[in-house]
């Protein structure tokens, strides 16, 4: 029951959420990546506590980016999507439960290869605009820190994909 919490008690709980003092911003100009990553983990650790105060800790993410995360986590080891059956509707529902997904930017997210191609350099060789959009979509997923991936290996693999796309 939310009403059981008194404000003093609630505030003290919030004070205890960070495991240590963080210096997330250095010199007022730059984020310290490790500090930011640890801080975000502590914040996520407080999700349940904060839900009790009806504060929802969920990151906004465009559907394409969310699907890239899920396709990457589920299928990054595969060379192509041909041998698997992927239910995009199910994947979209999964995305909605994990991230805050809006519906104001609906793209044509019709099949995995279009959302997160297995060989982006070849796919976008003659389509500069599509490549730019893909590059833009990958950027915050890989740089600067891992905010969105549960599977660290899938995250590290995507960083390599991103570096390839930057130079092809």
């Amino acid at each position: 029951m939310i009403t059981e919490y008194k404000l003093v008690e609630a505030y003290k709980k919030i004070e205890r959420l960070p495991k240590r003092k963080y210096q997330v911003i250095r010199g007022g100009r730059y984020y310290d990546k490790e500090e930011l990553e640890s801080f975000i983990k502590d914040l996520e650790g407080g999700t349940k506590t904060l839900e009790g105060f009806r504060i929802i800790i969920k990151e906004e993410l465009s559907m394409r980016r969310a699907l890239i995360v899920l396709l990457q986590e589920g299928y990054y080891k595969l060379k192509c999507y041909d041998d698997v059956t992927i239910d995009l509707i199910q994947l979209q529902n999964k995305a909605k439960s994990r991230f805050l997904i809006g519906n104001r930017d609906q793209e044509a997210l019709t099949y995995p290869e279009r959302i997160h191609p297995k060989n982006p350099c070849a796919r976008y060789e003659y389509n500069k605009t599509a490549k730019m959009h893909y590059k833009s979509a990958l950027k915050i997923l890989v740089i600067p820190i891992n905010i969105y991936f549960i599977d660290e290996k899938a995250y590290q693999h995507l960083k390599i994909v991103y570096e390839d796309v930057l130079i092809c």
């Binding site: 404000l7 609630a10 959420l17 730059y30 502590d42 914040l43 809006g102 833009s136």
Partner: protein, 257 residues
């Protein structure tokens, strides 16, 4: 690759109404090409709408119009922050922005334009996962100007007392919670927390408040309409909190009666 904090810049904002007046002949029918300032102003508004109301639905029309027509100072804060993010766009997104600048738009429906919404989502809104700390700080600083009434004759002396209290008792910020609860027991925990963060930021400006800032971001994101509506309630609660006794040396020394 470093992540820079936002560099807050001076900017010129053009309201949607003024853009509508300028292009009144084309507004409902023909497409127009916008100037850079006009497009950036529109993008900032789209950001604010996406941030507060990510899922569009018919029952939100008036709330979205509050943002679009900039009816309330507090709600406009998000648009101002969004504009700062647009002024600080990374080079990857600038290329895309320049493409958008060369397009023509139907002003009547520009807020729903899928390409613009897509751009704002990818280049601005999704970045709130990092910028939430900066947004929380920005919001607390700005909104405190709307809910802390500094016009009272006694404000300066109250202010000195409170600052002194926290200099002497930095670990006792929870006392603010106690006083807020006493001043207005009907506030929700969420509202109470926001008021604690506000007073803390205004009077103490501690350098370890990132958790407060991040939480402020989520409270504001999901409740901006209510926060704006109840502004006068928060204002009188804070006035009452400041009026309460901030006894510096309770029980210490002095003649016993």
């Amino acid at each position: 690759m470093e992540i820079k904090t936002l560099e807050f810049k001076e900017f010129h904002h053009v309201s949607y109404s003024d853009i509508g007046k300028k292009y009144k002949d084309e507004f409902n029918s023909n497409s127009v090409r916008l100037s850079e300032v006009e497009l950036k102003s529109i993008l900032a508004l789209i950001f604010s709408i996406q941030f507060h109301y990510p899922v569009s639905s018919n029952d939100q029309i008036e709330k979205v119009n509050d943002i679009l027509y900039e009816r309330h100072r507090i709600i406009n804060l998000t648009t101002r922050f969004g504009r700062q993010m647009i002024e600080n766009l990374d080079v990857v997104y600038l290329e895309w922005f320049n493409e958008l600048l060369n397009r023509r738009y139907h002003l009547f429906e520009i807020i729903k334009d899928i390409e613009l919404n897509n751009f704002v989502h990818l280049a601005v809104t999704d970045y709130m996962s990092i910028r939430k700390i900066e947004f929380g700080k920005f919001f607390l600083n700005e909104w405190s100007k709307s809910i802390i009434d500094t016009s009272s004759y006694y404000f300066d002396s109250y202010s000195r007392n409170i600052k002194k209290y926290f200099e002497d008792n930095p670990e006792k910020i929870w006392v603010v919670a106690e006083k807020i609860e006493k001043a207005n027991p009907s506030l929700t925990i969420r509202e109470g927390l926001l008021l604690i963060f506000t007073l803390k930021e205004y009077f103490i400006k501690p350098n370890n408040s990132i958790m407060d800032y991040a939480i402020t971001n989520y409270i504001v994101r999901d409740n901006i309409h209510e926060l704006n509506l109840k502004r006068s309630v928060y204002m009188s609660t804070i006035r009452e909190v400041l009026n309460q006794k901030w006894n510096l040396n309770r029980g210490k020394g002095g003649p016993k009666l």
